[in-house]
């Protein structure tokens, strides 16, 4: 059937600058650029252009501009270009719209309506360049009270804790969804900086097991790559119930992406669809969840904290309470803007609630119930900069997961084609020609640079508020004020309006 779709992007090539080096042609996995030998010029077919900017960045003479196509549709506030082109695709295929990355709709971003405090006159601010400033964070169940023996040693037996040098972990991204090189980069950066990466639900390749001390290993509904060795390799075991980008549904890694290497790590035959069922079929209730939490504690001899990750949904607070009571040591909550390698667009853009509201509601609820100390909270989904993270800590998070920022640091431009298997930046692909262009030496450096920069900024902000440890900010909502928010929003967030 003839497709009525217009291209998403327009490519402008300045022929006076083009030196026919054909870099653009080699860099593009979508085969947009080609060389016409007869005419001795570069030509392009922008129909398949993803707008990933790989060609524009690597063009040595900056002869290329790739920008959103101006289109010819009549402007319409209701029937925007997205709705028109999506609808046409569905009329042509009869299929579910698939997309990648996080929700790109203009839902309110509460981080932009929260402002931080700073010390003036009455208590001095602290300069982190001159004075020690602590970001070190321990995740895991904390005791209700502590008993100390006369010689000063701890009598209370602590539950297993993990130590982070900054309250930032890399989000779950599975091998198969991302390339081996991307996973190695995350693992190396986490190890070097003293934080954690997360295997996602696709197992941990053997050659990366040496980074196990800095790995959160996931156990999801598909149980891919899950065995006792894998569980005991990681520092934390995370039960993945849900994901912010697609609450309530499972995942399908298409058979064509299940290569031999992926098949070995996931422990499934090559070429078969890797189906993660929507629920864990051994978990239909909080009691069942408790059973798996304790099964994993048994499997790891009570040596590792068990995390449970859920998508932020309407009843997140009550669900989190159940998760803590079920025995989880960490609760991870992934918000509306959380990202994914592939999700139905209708789900990604419409299901779940913003992380700011979910996080505040969960922290409040656990405090009210007197069980906040029993589990650490990791917030995920939608962090763009260090101040977003500082605000999340003040709202009650112990730490945050960053996924999209880590991908962007490695080169991602959020073109949303992750599901396709083609990623010109070598991140979200298992095609060896494309993935080998991501150099883990460089990518891990870019990641540690990001962690360094954000950690420095966080220390500056803490110092400005007059506190010298992240622990003093945790859940301290008096350091926040709301701007441009309604009463109910301030109430859920538990913050006062600015000026109050």
């Amino acid at each position: 059937m003839k497709s009525y779709s217009l291209p998403d992007f327009l490519i402008e090539r300045d022929d006076s600058r083009c030196i026919r080096c054909r870099v653009c042609e080699r860099q593009c996995g979508w085969n947009v650029h080609s060389y016409d030998a007869e005419e001795d010029k570069m030509v392009h077919n922008e129909q398949d252009c993803a707008g990933c900017q790989r060609c524009a960045v690597f063009c040595p003479t900056k002869a290329l501009i790739v920008r959103p196509h101006p289109y010819g549709y009549r402007p319409n506030a209701n029937w925007t270009k997205d709705y028109l082109s999506d609808l046409k695709k569905q009329a042509e295929t009869g299929s579910i719209l698939l997309t990648g990355m996080g929700n790109d709709k203009s839902f309110p971003i509460y981080w932009d309506h929260l402002v931080l405090n700073a010390s003036q006159v009455t208590n001095p601010s602290i300069d982190p360049l001159r004075e020690p400033m602590e970001l070190r964070t321990y995740l895991g169940r904390k005791p209700d009270r502590i008993e100390v023996l006369e010689d000063g040693t701890l009598k209370t037996v602590l539950a297993p804790q993990i130590k982070l040098e900054t309250p930032i972990l890399f989000s779950a991204m599975s091998y198969g969804a991302i390339s081996f090189q991307a996973m190695e980069s995350l693992a190396r950066a986490a190890t070097e900086f003293g934080t954690m990466f997360n295997t996602g639900e696709g197992g941990l390749p053997r050659s990366l097991r040496k980074y196990g001390k800095n790995a959160v290993v996931q156990c999801a509904s598909g149980r891919f790559g899950v065995d006792l060795e894998y569980l005991n390799t990681g520092a934390v075991v995370e039960i993945k119930i849900g994901q912010g980008a697609k609450p309530g549904i499972g995942g399908h890694l298409p058979g064509k992406k299940v290569t031999d290497a992926i098949s070995e790590t996931r422990m499934i035959p090559a070429g078969t669809d890797a189906l993660s069922p929507a629920p864990h079929h051994d978990i239909y209730s909080i009691e069942d969840l408790s059973m798996l939490i304790h099964a994993l504690k048994e499997a790891t001899n009570y040596e590792k904290p068990i995390s449970v990750k859920i998508a932020a949904v309407h009843n997140a607070a009550a669900i989190a309470s159940g998760i803590v009571r079920a025995g989880a040591d960490i609760v991870a909550i992934d918000g509306l803007r959380g990202s994914t390698g592939a999700a139905p667009k209708s789900i990604r853009d419409n299901v779940g609630i913003p992380i700011e509201l979910a996080l505040a509601a969960v922290d409040t609820r656990l405090r009210q119930e007197g069980i906040r100390n029993q589990a650490s909270i990791i917030a995920a989904g939608g962090f763009r900069c260090s101040s977003d993270i500082v605000k999340a800590i003040a709202l009650g998070a112990d730490a945050v997961y960053i996924g999209t920022p880590a991908l962007i640091a490695m080169g991602c431009t959020v073109c949303q084609k992750c599901y396709s298997g083609i990623c010109n930046w070598g991140i979200c692909t298992t095609n060896p020609y494309l993935s080998k262009r991501l150099n883990p030496n460089i990518a891990s450096r870019r990641l540690t640079n990001l962690l360094n920069a954000w950690s420095h900024e966080m220390k500056e902000m803490l110092g400005g508020m007059g506190v010298n440890a992240i622990e003093s900010l945790r859940g301290n909502r008096l350091h926040l004020r709301g701007v441009g928010l309604q009463e109910w929003e301030l109430e859920v967030l538990g913050v006062r309006g600015a000026g109050r």
Partner: protein
């Protein structure tokens, strides 16, 4: 030989009295026994303790005999152990098991063998709902479930590999009909062999039913022999009492045409 409490009976034989022990303590004792070199561990008076065998890592493989009624997730995640239950097993038996063998001299509950990747489970009688759900196979690993009686709904749901054999001995052999529905829903790998009447409307949409061929017969012979040996039953009678049907998925990519972009 049986002593109160627990202790070493022979050089590599341990016996533990599970009476009144919380599962955490019982499993710690089992782990300690395996760590000290036990090859066979006998658990007496088991009553509802969960996760038996799960904590025995990285030791073993060991042989565990369970007398009484174990709790849920018996043998979850195990890698190479052999567990024999002289009684009924509950839900989640063999959950995400990697290798080894579980033999149940009685019946077993729901999600038996969920997500198991290797090893064999033999249940003398019938089993509950969602048995064999999301079983998978990989390389030389191919999980096998052999069930003497019948199963409840969703047998083999989401299966991505492995073999499930239902002997249909639960009823009078003149009318061995099965009551379960949604057999093999979402299945995209593996094989179910079922003896006894099964109507097409009891099957999921993703599977087809066919006659067994010679190779299937060999597979069945092999596992029926083992079943007969485990439960000390005459093999000839088990093998001869009726014909098997084979149920397999129509595609290994059931959702291949679901998406556009």
């Amino acid at each position: 030989m049986v002593r109160s409490g627990s202790g070493e009976v022979g050089q590599s034989l341990f016996e533990i009295d599970a009476k009144g022990l919380p599962y955490v303590d019982l499993n710690a004792k089992v782990r300690a026994a395996a760590a000290s070199g036990a090859k066979k561990i006998i658990l007496q008076n088991v009553c509802g303790q969960r996760y038996i065998g799960t904590r025995v890592y990285p030791y073993g493989p060991v042989e565990i005999e369970v007398y009484g009624t174990p709790g849920n997730d018996l043998g979850a995640f195990i890698d190479g152990h052999r567990i024999t239950v002289y009684g009924n097993a509950q839900d989640g038996t063999g959950n995400t098991m990697n290798s080894g063998e579980i033999v149940v001299h009685g019946r077993a509950g729901d999600i038996l063998g969920m997500s198991m990747r290797g090893g064999e489970i033999y249940v003398r009688d019938s089993v509950g709902y969602r048995v064999g759900i999301h079983m998978k196979e990989f390389g030389s690993k191919c999980p096998v479930l052999v069930i003497g009686g019948t199963a409840q709904d969703f047998l083999g749901e989401y299966a991505a590999g492995g073999i499930v054999i239902l002997l249909g001995l639960h009823q009078d052999s003149t009318s061995p009909e099965h009551k379960m529905n949604f057999v093999g829903t979402g299945m995209h790998g593996g094989t179910l062999y079922i003896r006894g009447e099964l109507r097409p409307q009891q099957l999921g949409k993703q599977v087809t039913i066919s006659e067994v061929d010679e190779q299937d017969q060999q597979t069945l012979d092999r596992y029926i022999s083992k079943y007969a040996a485990h439960f000390n039953l005459p093999k000839k009678q088990l093998a001869d009492s009726g014909n098997f049907k084979k149920i397999q998925p129509t595609t290994k990519r059931p959702y291949g045409h679901l998406y556009t972009h």
